[in-house]
């Protein structure tokens, strides 16, 4: 069974978002997603400073199985990307919710979070796939 932390919001395309008190969102992919992709070997990340809209393609994950687009679950300005992943993409497999985060952004519309799923809804979504 994959891990689905209660404190995150989830997109149907399997990205997770965690928002701190300052409105900074951290984005990654779920344990379910990394498990489905298999061993991840390379990642392409967005540029810090870029403005992205929700559902934009912001990153690419190359696993032993396939190349997969990663969609931003929320809109905002990218503040920081996790450059450590560029040389250690397997961190996404090992720790999808901790060391495997992709980027942080400054939220521009907190109401977008309401359109994402909570943990219970996301578990149901994965089961239905």
């Amino acid at each position: 069974m994959s891990t689905v932390p209660d404190n995150l919001r989830y997109a149907s395309t399997h990205e997770w978002v965690q928002v701190d008190d300052d409105g900074i969102a951290t984005i990654g992919i779920s344990d379910h997603a990394q498990n489905a992709l298999g061993d991840i070997v390379f990642i392409e990340l967005p540029e810090a400073g870029a403005m992205v809209n929700s559902k934009d393609e912001v990153a690419v994950v190359e696993s032993v199985k396939a190349a997969s687009d990663i969609y931003s679950p929320v809109s905002g300005e990218i503040l920081e990307v996790n450059e450590a992943l560029l040389d250690a993409a397997e961190t996404i497999n090992l720790a999808p919710y901790v060391g495997g985060w992709f980027y942080k952004l400054k939220l521009i519309d907190a109401s977008e979070l309401d359109k994402l799923m909570d943990a219970d809804a996301y578990v149901e979504h994965c089961d239905a796939e």
Binding site: G38, D39, V41, E62, V64, A67
Partner: protein, 367 residues
């Protein structure tokens, strides 16, 4: 639900992620494909390939029949147990399947691909007319491939335990590459699909679960089909339905060496077409299967276009090489191409053309 090998429950017990493979439920990995790949390169791993099809061929004309059926020549098999890799061609010189044929005490044993089983059997039966041969499919057998630098020693340790197997390990230790030995109802050969030393064991399926347990207890790791594919790709070995098929000449699939052109009067099926293909190759109009290397980030994948100085080609197999830590591929490209670029998701990326053989015995082998 698909078909199950005798080790289906053992795969589940080992934590396998199961996938459909040509109608069979097979393990794609047991957690990490890359870890499994590295186990085979560094120690020893076991693959369940019991889904593959075994056909035993006996009768006075068995040799004459196979000399007609196969592009390689079973006359080269000068002793029992010897193995030969061959294409089975259609009249147009396309590849119906690739296979291994062993010379056995009773005649010959052929192991063909699982996905091509039905058409292979139909083809083999339809061309047996006029020959005194019996073709018998052997579904009750397990096939395990144990590969890696420690594979032979670990298999011998298991076979030596107790009196469970009618097998003399001395005979296995003496096996030359591409040869095997029949020991009771077991057949054990030094063949495989990884570029490492190893054995393939064909034996009664009821004995498979206990033997599997003993292999794992001896430190042999279960390996899924995912790592099987990345291992064979590093070894530059073709995969049927990807690197060649019925529309592809063996000359466009790096299989020239598996066609026995001599003696000239051996009339194997597809010979006249293959001779024409050879003329096309000499004239420069037959594409060739090459190796590609991408030393920067990114992954070459099957189906990606290759733009060469001399025309366009396509990747037939591609992926990440766990040994080399970058991507490699097999691609069919126009002859006399010297530089090329891969179209990776719309981005043209320079790749290097090399001989289609990347890793042997754990080491990089191309320049």
């Amino acid at each position: 639900m698909g078909q199950h090998t005798p080790l289906y429950q053992k795969h589940l017990d080992a934590g396998a992620k199961m996938v459909d493979f040509a109608g069979w439920d097979m393990p794609i990995n047991y957690g990490s494909q890359i870890e499994e790949h590295q186990r085979v390169r560094s120690t020893a791993g076991v693959f369940d390939v019991s889904h593959m099809t075994v056909v035993d061929i006996s009768g006075d004309d068995a040799k004459a029949y196979l000399r007609k059926l196969l592009a390689n020549d079973v006359d080269k098999l000068d002793a029992e147990g010897r193995a030969l890799y061959s294409a089975m061609l259609n009249e147009n010189g396309g590849v119906i399947d690739d296979l291994i044929v062993y010379r056995m005490s009773f005649g010959y044993r052929i192991v063909v691909n699982c996905a091509t089983r039905t058409k292979d059997l139909a083809w083999m039966n339809s061309h047996s007319t006029g020959f005194d041969v019996a073709l018998v499919e052997k579904p009750g057998l397990a096939i395990l491939a144990v590969h890696g630098p420690q594979s032979r020693e670990k298999v011998c340790v298991v076979l030596d335990q107790g009196q469970l197997y009618p097998v003399k390990t001395a005979a296995i230790k003496l096996l030359a590459n591409f040869s095997g030995v029949e020991l009771g109802n077991w057949f054990i050969a030094r063949t495989g699909y990884t570029g490492e030393k190893g054995l393939e064991l064909i034996f009664p399926e009821k004995e498979a679960p206990a033997f599997w347990d003993k292999l794992l207890a001896a430190g042999v790791h279960p390996i899924g089909l995912g790592a099987r594919d990345s291992l064979r790709l590093e070894a530059g070995m073709n995969l049927y339905g990807h690197d060649m098929d019925e529309e592809i000449s063996p000359l466009a699939a790096n299989m020239e060496q598996t066609i026995a052109w001599q003696p000239e009067d051996r009339d194997f099926i597809g010979r006249s077409a293959a001779v024409r293909h050879r003329a096309e190759q000499a004239a420069g109009s037959m594409p060739r299967l090459v190796g590609l290397v991408l030393e920067q980030r990114g992954v070459l994948r099957e189906g990606q276009r290759i733009l060469c100085d001399n025309g366009e080609g396509i990747i037939t197999s591609g992926g990440f090489s766990p040994t080399l830590k970058h991507s490699i591929a097999l691609a069919r490209i126009p002859v006399n191409s010297h530089s090329c670029q891969a179209d990776i998701r719309g981005r043209l990326t320079p790749v290097r053309i090399v001989k289609p053989n990347f890793v042997r015995f754990g080491k990089k082998v191309f320049e």
